[in-house]
């Protein structure tokens, strides 16, 4: 992994961006993201009638003087969010090195935008039904860059399996954004993973990364197509085809259809979906697509 994206320039450009979370999230600790609840900031939000047990220091005495009733002055609350980035580390993602780099760059970009705003970040690597969290919980730029240095060591092999997500113990609830990065070129049920995120009241971004050859195959002729995640020649995922120009066109149509299916599912679950090809510059994805999705501001 060369890590061509992880340059100072790359991170400098990300300095200007911040992740945009819905206010329905709550989080646990104080941070920079305003939420729907009242808190201890200095920004006024509303009044409410005093109830027994309330802190009397928050009573607005000026209002009492005018109305003769006790009202509390309420202030907005800002919390720290937890960005969980799930990276599909199967062989198909790593099949094209540029695709793997692209996927990791996206993950790192999300992570950097999070730590820059004092949010927590964790990277979860999914492979062969297991997940690993090699960098732990990252807070602050120092620990983030330390983790980025190790990103190059991530290897891609085995089959895609999203079932490991449900086994993660520290999933939290209603506390941030879950980003699922994969090529989704699998029969494995990724929908369950999305549903699980939603169950945990997470904001969800489903990000599909596809290589150039996967978007537009350049090969033609008669092929025994062997799946890179499979066991070899006898694998049921293999397919024997005579690839003509018409077949290539059918492939492109079918891929678009597949993307639409994913998108439809995501919309039905109020999750964001982003499909990117490695031929699109990553800046364009971050500045345009993520902004369009209102995930970045």
């Amino acid at each position: 992994m060369k890590g061509i994206y992880f340059t100072d320039d790359f991170f400098d450009r990300l300095e200007r961006l911040a992740l945009n979370f819905p206010t329905t999230l709550t989080g646990y600790f104080g941070g920079k993201h305003r939420i729907n609840k009242y808190g201890q900031t200095i920004e006024f939000a509303d009044f409410r009638q005093y109830q027994p047990g309330d802190d009397i220091r928050r009573i607005d005495w000026n209002l009492y003087a005018r109305l003769g009733k006790h009202f509390l002055k309420l202030y907005t609350d800002e919390r720290q969010m937890h960005i969980r980035i799930y990276i599909d580390c199967s062989a198909s993602v790593g099949f094209y090195s540029d695709k793997a780099e692209y996927a990791l760059a996206l993950a790192v970009a999300f992570g950097y935008m999070a730590v820059r705003n004092n949010d927590k970040v964790s990277f979860h690597l999914l492979k062969d039904g297991n997940q690993s969290d090699p960098f732990g919980l990252i807070v602050g730029k120092n620990s983030f860059f330390s983790a980025v240095g190790k990103v190059k060591d991530i290897t891609f092999s085995g089959e895609t399996d999203f079932s490991a997500i449900s086994k993660i113990s520290d999933m939290g609830s209603n506390d941030g954004l879950s980003v699922l990065i994969s090529d989704f070129l699998t029969d494995n049920s990724w929908q369950k993973a999305v549903d699980y995120f939603l169950f945990k009241k997470q904001q969800v971004l489903v990000c599909q990364v596809l290589g150039k050859e996967e978007v537009s195959p350049s090969y033609s002729g008669k092929f025994d197509l062997v799946d890179c995640e499979g066991t070899g020649k006898g694998d049921t995922r293999n397919v024997q085809l005579s690839i003509t120009r018409a077949m290539t066109e059918a492939y492109k149509k079918e891929l678009e259809k597949y993307k639409e299916e994913i998108k439809k599912f995501c919309i039905s679950r109020d999750a964001a979906f982003l499909s990117v090809g490695t031929d699109i510059p990553i800046d364009k994805i971050i500045y345009r697509e993520l902004m369009n999705l209102e995930l970045v501001k």
């Binding site: 062989a91 198909s92 993602v93 099949f95 094209y96 090529d183 070129l185 699998t186 029969d187 290589g211 050859e213 996967e214 195959p217 090969y219 002729g221 008669k222 092929f223 025994d224 197509l225 062997v226 799946d227 890179c228 995640e229 499979g230 020649k233 995922r237 293999n238 397919v239 024997q240 085809l241 005579s242 077949m247 059918a250 492939y251 079918e254 891929l255 259809k257 597949y258």
Partner: protein
């Protein structure tokens, strides 16, 4: 030779198998490729398969429906009809018999059968056009090579029809009526309502309902006496002419047959003879048949007919046989010429300084075998009687052991074939490109064949064993060795336009050559160098004959027209009545040999009231099965079979 496919479908089937084999051999070879997007490709395949499956189902249904429809239609016996078949009485086909017998004239009206047929046919065609305005008429002239006078002409062409009919001519040849009827039958294949009118003088039993035979002969006023042929033989060393005469029709009369022999030569002078032979014919209504054949033998020595009993002749120029003042229906067969009084004679000269009887016996045997076609004159030179060898005037010169000094002095003969048997050193003096080397004695050894030569036809050199032969040095390449003994030539042949020579460098006495192989050799020798020009001297009109040539050129002359032939044997067709002269030019001495042949009207045409046993049934097509048109049942069966196979294949794919 024409190649026809009796079962073209079988051939197509075989081709289909071959195509399947090619497809099997060229079946796609798949390359292995690892990719990450097999999921998408599988979705593509699934989607395509779904679409294809739907199409296949529709197609299977269509094929099944089509098979049922084809079987149903097939059992309804579909047939192809042409437009002509729709309108009855739309076509007339007239056959005019144009054989020589149709030239017979009626003594009452003075017109010939053919003329009457033309008039009658014209009337019929006029009548036909008055009834069927859109009809078509074809007329076939049935001569030796039946062809259309015109074909499918309509009312608009009436003028042309009558003009062509009036200009039609009757031939002198034998008519091939069967071919003419077959030609007319083709009209029936296209138009079952076609009516065939057949004008002829021959009695046909039954040609079918589609053919109306109109016998144009007039038995009451037609009669014919004909000279059918003449064979020449010798009785008591005198020529005898056996004349075959035929009388047809109502003939009860006496007539004289004239025999005019021109140029009868007894070796001392030439003379002409005129002989008259009376003949009685009695063919009338009471006779069992309407024909009478008589044979009359005439000899020039018969004084009853005007001959001279004491004047014998060897050859004659020509003999004309005729029946004067006959006035019968066909005058063309009232005369006949006989040529060939000069029989081919092969002259052989034999000289030997140690004579044996092998050659004379061999040629005598050959003369017996060739008796019918030619004579052989064998002249042996007896030196003790003071005879000298000649070097001209013979066809074959055989010099055995030595070449006679008088011949060496005058030069070897150039007007015939020279055969040198067992030559000695006198060979060198002959200056012919051969020189004597030495005589070699060997134990009995069989000869072997060299380059094939026609002289060796039917011969087996391995059956010839020699105990002695002479080694000959060859300086002239035109001497070709054709038999070898111990690697040395045992028979040379030289065959050039200016010189024809055979050299046998061994003694017959010192071999077992005399016998079967010797006789075959002599037969080949005569037939190769002196082939007979014609094997007979009278031919029927239209007859073809093969002829050969002793020399290099034959000119055939008839009525002032000459044709030249240089490749032999060749074929010649006699297409006119009269005398044909064959003049052979010999390259050896530039002398000519003349042979004449007489061509006459076919004897069968003299029979005015012949009947035919020709069997063909051209029945009215509307009654026949064929009238239903071309049957397509087999094609429907084949088509339904193909569709059934296709349906099976589609089902098979579907199950898979």
């Amino acid at each position: 030779m024409i190649l026809r496919w009796l079962l073209p479908i079988g051939f197509v089937g075989l081709l289909a198998i071959a195509i399947l084999l090619v497809i099997y051999l060229l079946r796609p070879q798949y390359r292995e490729k690892r990719i990450s997007a097999t999921v998408v490709w599988k979705r593509v395949v699934l989607h395509t398969k779904k679409q294809r499956l739907m199409l296949t189902n529709i197609f299977i249904f269509l094929v099944q429906a089509l098979v049922l429809a084809i079987i149903a239609v097939g059992f309804a016996e579909p047939r192809l009809y042409s437009k002509k078949q729709i309108s009855p009485d739309s076509e007339y086909v007239v056959i005019l018999d144009a054989s020589a017998s149709m030239r017979a004239k009626s003594s009452a009206s003075g017109d010939s059968r053919f003329e009457r047929a033309v008039v009658n046919a014209t009337d019929k065609i006029k009548d036909f056009f008055s009834k069927a305005e859109s009809g078509a008429v074809s007329v076939i002239i049935a001569d030796s090579n039946p062809s259309y006078l015109f074909s499918n002409l309509k009312k608009d062409d009436e003028k042309e029809i009558y003009s062509r009919l009036s200009s039609a001519e009757c031939s002198l040849e034998e008519g091939h009526l069967d071919d003419a009827i077959t030609l007319a039958g083709k009209h029936l294949e296209e138009n079952p309502y076609a009516k065939i009118l057949f004008y002829t003088d021959t009695q046909f039993d039954n040609l079918g309902t589609a053919v109306e035979v109109i016998n144009i002969s007039d038995k009451e006023y037609e009669q014919n006496i004909a000279i059918l042929g003449c064979t020449v033989g010798k009785i008591d060393n005198q020529y005898a002419f056996e004349i075959v005469l035929g009388a047809y029709g109502n003939v009860t009369r006496r007539c004289n047959v004239s025999v005019d022999i021109t140029g009868a030569d007894n070796g001392e002078g030439k003379k002409n003879f005129h002989l008259e032979v009376p003949v009685n014919f009695a063919v009338n209504e009471n006779s069992q048949s309407s024909e009478q054949i008589q044979r009359v033998t005439v000899m020039a020595t018969n004084e009853n007919y005007g001959g001279q009993p004491d004047w014998f002749f060897d050859v004659y120029d020509e003999t004309k046989i005729s029946i004067p003042n006959l006035n019968d229906s066909i005058p063309d067969d009232d005369q006949f010429y006989v040529y060939g009084g000069i029989r081919d004679t092969i002259k052989v000269e034999y000289w030997s300084n140690d004579a044996n009887s092998f050659w004379q016996l061999g040629f005598n045997n050959l003369a017996v075998n060739m008796n019918k076609s030619r004579d052989i004159l064998f002249r042996e030179i007896y030196q003790e009687q003071g005879m000298k060898a000649e070097n001209q005037g013979f066809d074959f010169y055989i010099f055995e052991h030595s070449i006679p000094s008088e011949v060496l002095q005058a030069g070897l003969p150039t007007d015939g074939v020279v055969l040198l048997a067992d030559p000695d050193n006198t060979l060198d003096s002959a200056n012919i490109g051969l020189s004597f080397n030495q005589t070699v004695k060997i134990p009995a050894t069989a000869c072997v064949s060299g380059e094939y030569h026609q002289l060796l036809q039917y011969m087996e050199p391995s059956k010839i064993h020699l105990t002695q032969y002479s080694k000959i040095t060859v300086k002239d390449d035109s001497f070709k060795p054709v038999i070898f003994i111990d690697g040395n030539p045992a028979l040379f042949v030289k065959d050039t336009p200016s010189s024809k020579m055979i050299v046998l460098p061994f003694s017959i006495n010192m071999s077992d050559f005399y016998g079967e192989q010797f006789q075959i050799f002599l037969y080949n020798l005569v037939n190769y160098f002196m082939p007979i020009t014609l094997d007979k001297f009278d031919f029927e009109l239209g007859e073809k004959t093969q002829f050969n040539c002793k020399g290099e050129l034959i000119e055939i002359e008839h009525n002032g027209n000459t044709q030249k032939f240089v490749d032999f044997p060749s074929e010649f067709s006699f297409d006119d009545v009269g005398t044909y002269t064959f003049t052979t030019t010999f390259g050896l001495v530039k002398k000519d040999e003349v042979r004449r042949a007489y061509v006459h009207v076919a004897t069968s045409e003299s029979n005015l009231f012949a009947t035919s046993d020709f069997r063909i049934n051209l029945s009215s097509k509307e009654l026949s099965e064929e009238d239903k048109g071309e049957d397509f049942f087999i094609w429907f069966a084949v088509l339904s079979l193909i569709l059934m196979v296709l349906e099976w294949y589609l089902q098979f794919k579907y199950i898979l």
